[in-house]
Amino acid sequence: MVAIDVPEVNYTEYSNRQLVAVPLAVLVLALAIIGGWYLVTGAPANLGLEFTGGVELRVADDGGNVEQQIETAFDRQPDSVRAIPADDVYVVTFRAADEDPGNLAEDLSTQADEAGLSTTAIDQVSPSFASDTAQTAIFGVGLAFLGMSVLVFALFRTFVPSLAVVASAFSDLVIPIAVMNLLGIQMTLGTIAALLMIIGYSVDSDILLNNSVLRRTGEFYESVSRAMRTGVTMTLTSMAAMIVMAIVASLFGIDLLRNIGIILSVGLCADLMNTYLLNVSLLRWYKFEGVKR
């Protein structure tokens, strides 16, 4: 039987600078990707239907060559057609049109009916509603992050360790967004929920680490390895749940669950790195050098 043993890392071999370099480099890279995305596409990520407006149809695959029918059925080119074999449907997405966005949903559903396609679901979001949603989402994530930061500072009441938690949480948020861009995953409401969830999840292991080092007796490296044993198990368990959810949900075409699963998996991965490289080195600096000042 395979057993999971959390490896002991010999932190003494590396300087703080070396430890911090990796997560910082990744963070900078992620920020660069997001910035580049913004410059090129005008948005920091691939925005999904909920943030751009448009219509999404689910068309039942009842045997025939539905894919071809979809090609010809509509008077405008679909922005994407995705087959979901497990559910026997095709998901057809149309961006909101500049000209006459008004009756897009109605027109498309009539056209589908006329072509003999049976639609099992229609989602329609108007552009102005979409931009409203985008604002609300950004505000929500910002508010959640702020609330978390305040709470962390209140819990530890020391600057550097609290900052370490907040910094790694920030990086945990940014890295999944960059990865999303690279993988071509769209930003939807589901991913926003996942990002908020990362704020909640990822802070757990940081709090555990800080608690172990600051509030408990014992030598620094011993405290770190103790916290690490628990923390890595925690993160891996959550990751297992999320990876399974992402895989199963994408087979079945449940986008909401798939997106949440993917984002959380990536975020938890990033969290492993940030907690045990970034946070640990900041704590070590604080413990051995910062306190003396």
Partner: protein
């Protein structure tokens, strides 16, 4: 005797919560509310008392704003609301007093005629002489409340059960009507909502230079009693039997008398003498030879008809108004039904802009059923994944098994909550459940590791002090999750509030009930007594 209870109260609490959840899930007393004429077994979806939302049961949800402009902080100067409305309407060429609502309690005036632009309304407000602070888009609370009731009535009149209408506010302060109708497709819901449903009768009459129109001789509010739509005997078509109100306040004419007068004035009695005399509005709408009644919905003529000679005579002689019986005839039965619904529910006070500024989501029942199965499978597999990881890590059933059982109990308790609150289970809620399993097990890992660290647990005191230490971390972690999720609970971000509510509920149940219980179970298994 009380000693064992006192020692194990945390486990007992978990048992009580699980039993409570079972009762909420399966006891018929907690079953869903039944619509009139429906019995409990019909309202129940499946073996449990769980209610499924749109995603899992199929149906249509529409979220859209009411269109209009509102002047805020208006100084009414002691004038009556209808007086204010008339004064402002007089300054607008494309709106009547009916399009304007003045609400003294809100100090606001709104205009809901879609043709009126913001600058026109501003100009009219300036010209009317009422001082106001600013103009915003949207309508007053009063209009929203009326609209909410009208939409609810419309849905109920259509015979669809379980429809809900709510007002939600977005971050930018804009209000949206949120309408959910289970089991209906998009087009039938949007056509019900997008149609304002203003039913009115006009008279078309011949003049020297073409057809003249006298508008609004009868309006929706003039009808006192409404029958249900019926098929006409022998001839094609359908009708809605109505009674026109023949009472009026002192010094005013009743609608029935006004209508009777208008019909007599336009010469119906002279034009219709036998069954051969027909209305020819349909053939030549611009040049009718006989006067006609036009039935219009939202300004569009849906039917035109002449009048039975005897009815025309009784109107000319002035005897009709005492009875006031009248039939609104249509060419198709469906049309008659629609008119009956519109008359009964009343007209929407403002347009709902679904395609321009709203959003809609529609899912067929079969797609919903698929989602239900798939998300169940996803959830179960996620639990298995977690269980697998825990077993791999601890390889000790005494630690791992209670962990899995506790995590499942947590989800079960949440399902009980959902049934108790009649909260519709949706995909987002299921995502919340899975997230709860994830966080739940995390915390149990913290407890297990903490308790078992630093050697054997050989006394209660050692156990308790370690447990308390673990709990500090768990409490802090739970607090951050709750804080991170709380914006989603209140912001109007689609279905995600369900996700947030159940994640937070799950964390609370976890911290207050299941995690302490797991601690107790672990203590019993580990302490050597």
């Amino acid at each position: 005797m009380l000693e064992p209870i006192k020692n194990n109260w945390r486990i007992l609490l978990l048992v009580v919560v699980v039993l409570g959840a079972t009762v909420a899930l399966f006891a018929p007393q907690f079953g869903p509310q039944t619509a009139p004429g429906e019995d409990v077994s019909e309202a129940q979806q499946g073996v449990t008392n769980l209610q499924y939302g749109l995603d899992l049961a199929g149906g249509t949800r529409v979220r859209a704003p009411l269109v209009g402009y509102t002047a805020m902080e208006v100084d009414f100067g002691g004038d009556q609301p209808d007086e204010v409305a008339r004064t402002i309407a007089a300054e607008l060429e494309n709106a009547s007093a009916a399009d304007i609502t003045a609400v003294p309690s809100e100090r606001a005036v709104d205009v809901t005629a879609t043709e009126v632009t913001e600058s026109q309304f501003r100009a009219a407000m300036d010209a009317s002489g009422y001082a106001y602070e600013d103009i915003r888009s949207g309508v007053t609370q009063e209009t929203r409340d009326v609209a909410q009731q009208v939409i609810k009535d419309k849905i109920d009149e259509t015979g669809l059960s379980g429809g809900t209408v709510q007002q939600v506010q977005s971050l930018t302060g804009e209000y949206f009507m949120l309408v959910e109708v289970p089991g209906e497709n998009r087009s039938s819901v949007t056509s019900l909502l997008e149609e304002r449903g203003t039913v009115q009768i006009d008279i078309a009459y011949p003049t020297a230079n073409g057809t003249g129109i006298e508008e609004g001789v009868l309006r929706g509010e003039d009808f006192q009693e409404l029958g249900s739509a019926s098929q006409r005997e022998r001839v094609q078509g359908a009708y809605v039997p109505v009674t026109v109100r023949n009472t009026a306040p002192e010094g005013q004419q009743s609608p029935a008398h006004e209508f009777q007068q208008a019909v007599a004035d336009r010469g119906f009695a002279e034009a219709y003498n036998s069954q051969r005399d027909q209305c020819d509005y349909r053939e030549n709408p611009d040049d009718v030879s006989n006067p006609c009644l036009l039935l219009t919905v939202d300004g569009e003529v849906v039917n035109s008809f002449g009048m039975d000679p005897s009815l025309a005579d009784s109107m000319a002689s002035g005897s009709w108004a005492t009875d006031g019986g009248f039939r609104l005839t249509t060419t198709e039965f469906a049309e008659a039904e629609r008119i009956a619904i519109n008359l009964r529910a009343g007209a929407l006070p403002a347009d709902l802009d679904i395609s321009g500024q709203g959003t809609s989501r529609s899912i067929s029942a079969s797609q919903g059923a698929n989602y239900k199965t798939y998300s169940l499978v996803t959830g179960i597999l996620a639990v298995f994944a977690v269980a697998g990881m825990v077993f791999l890590r601890y390889r000790e059933p005494a630690v791992a098994l209670p962990m899995i059982v506790t995590a499942i109990a947590e989800v079960y308790a949440l399902l009980g909550f959902a049934a108790l609150l009649s909260y519709p289970v949706e995909l987002a809620v299921i995502a919340g459940f899975i997230a709860v399993v994830g966080t739940g097990v995390d915390d149990l890992v913290i407890i297990a590791d903490e308790v078992m660290s630093e050697g054997e647990v050989n006394s209660r005191t050692v156990f308790n002090s370690r447990f308390r230490r673990a709990f500090w971390v768990i409490g802090a972690a739970a607090a951050t999750t709750i804080i991170a999720m709380s914006p989603l609970m209140v912001l109007s971000l689609g279905d995600l509030s369900g996700f947030a509510i159940f994640t937070v509920l799950g964390v609370l149940i976890g911290v207050l009930v299941t995690r302490p219980a797991y601690g107790d179970i672990l203590r019993r298994l580990l302490t050597i007594r």
